[in-house]
Amino acid sequence: MKGGIVALCCENSGWKALASLGDDPVLDGVEAVRLPCSGKAETGMMLKILEKGAAGVLVLGCPKDDCTFLRGSARAQKRVAVARAALKDAGVGEERVRMEFISSVDTPRLAEAIRAMKAALEAHEGKA
């Protein structure tokens, strides 16, 4: 899978969970970006990252009923939906942007989510 995954992480949840994975090989090719809240991630940012060569963008936010900024991760989810629709319009694959709701301690789920995304991106690459 060329290009790697850029993970836009809420510092309260995704960032901490990612850190807990340490140097687990599942993190190979994953570059993490720290945000005060997943709600800071903008649609335009997600698309620009892909334009610059990343294979995928993974937005990691707090579970919706537990967001420090109340509605941040819910907003991020909508923005991811817009980015996916744009990718579909451009014909380059909606699966390249994804959102996961991960609490700071839920490392198994995070690892699984990253694996699933890599698999989806490889499959997409195979088709392309």
Partner: protein, 223 residues
């Protein structure tokens, strides 16, 4: 911008006759640009009313204020106290702002000082003309960037009627250019005259006013 013109003074005076504490509220956006309802125009109307009141021996409190826009809720915060102190607001915003003002201050008498006209552009100092009708399905790309719905008096989509003469529309040759002459000339300039020979099909008017009061919901911005 949305353009408007001020209502005749007599009509305004009649609208506000029952009120003793009037706030004349201007709008700093579209109607400032077309010089109908901005701060300057608020001042003119307020002075005219005060002079008229003076002549009639009527003592009435008339306050003035202008906010950035009357179509967005947050700008009204600046005038909350003035609104509360008035028994009526004479809004110098376009029809949108004048209505929204009444929604934001439910129960307050809000009266329109302007007659809203069209979506238009500033042709030159003091001259504004229509460009768009908000039909909901923009087709100007088919016509060299000129809207036949708005700029043709009959909204014809397939070419001029018999009333086009020397580039003017027979409906008002002094003021209205023939939209189809404009389209023809532009398409000729663009080397696309042949495109005008395609028969344009019936328009779907339901995307505009004919479909009912408009409403847009942008999912990713709602919560």
């Amino acid at each position: 911008m949305i353009t408007a013109v001020r209502k005749p003074f007599d009509e305004i005076r009649d609208l506000v006759k029952g009120y003793d504490r009037l706030l004349i509220l201007g709008c700093g956006t579209c109607v400032t640009v077309c010089m109908a309802g901005g701060e300057k125009e608020v001042g003119i109307l307020a002075s005219t009313l005060r002079l008229a009141d003076q002549k009639d021996g009527r003592s009435r409190e008339i306050t003035e204020a202008t906010i950035e826009r009357q179509c967005d809720r947050e700008f009204f915060d600046a005038v909350k106290e003035k609104m509360a102190a008035a028994d009526a607001v004479l809004s110098m915003a376009c029809g949108v702002g004048a209505q929204f003002c009444g929604e934001v201050f439910a129960g307050k008498a809000v009266l329109p000082a302007l007659n809203t006209k069209f979506y238009g552009t500033t042709e030159g100092p003091g001259v504004w003309s229509a460009r768009c009708s908000g039909c909901g399905t923009c087709v100007i790309a088919d016509f060299g960037g000129i809207c036949p719905v708005t700029r043709c008096s009959k909204s014809l989509l397939n070419g001029p009627c018999g009333g086009s003469s020397k580039g003017k529309c027979e409906v008002d040759p002094a003021n209205i250019e023939c939209g189809w002459q404009l389209i023809h000339d532009r398409m000729k300039l663009l080397g696309r005259l042949a495109d005008l020979e395609a028969v344009q099909p019936l328009k779907d008017w339901s995307t505009g006013r004919d479909g009912g009061p408009g409403r847009i919901v942008k999912e990713d911005a709602t919560l």
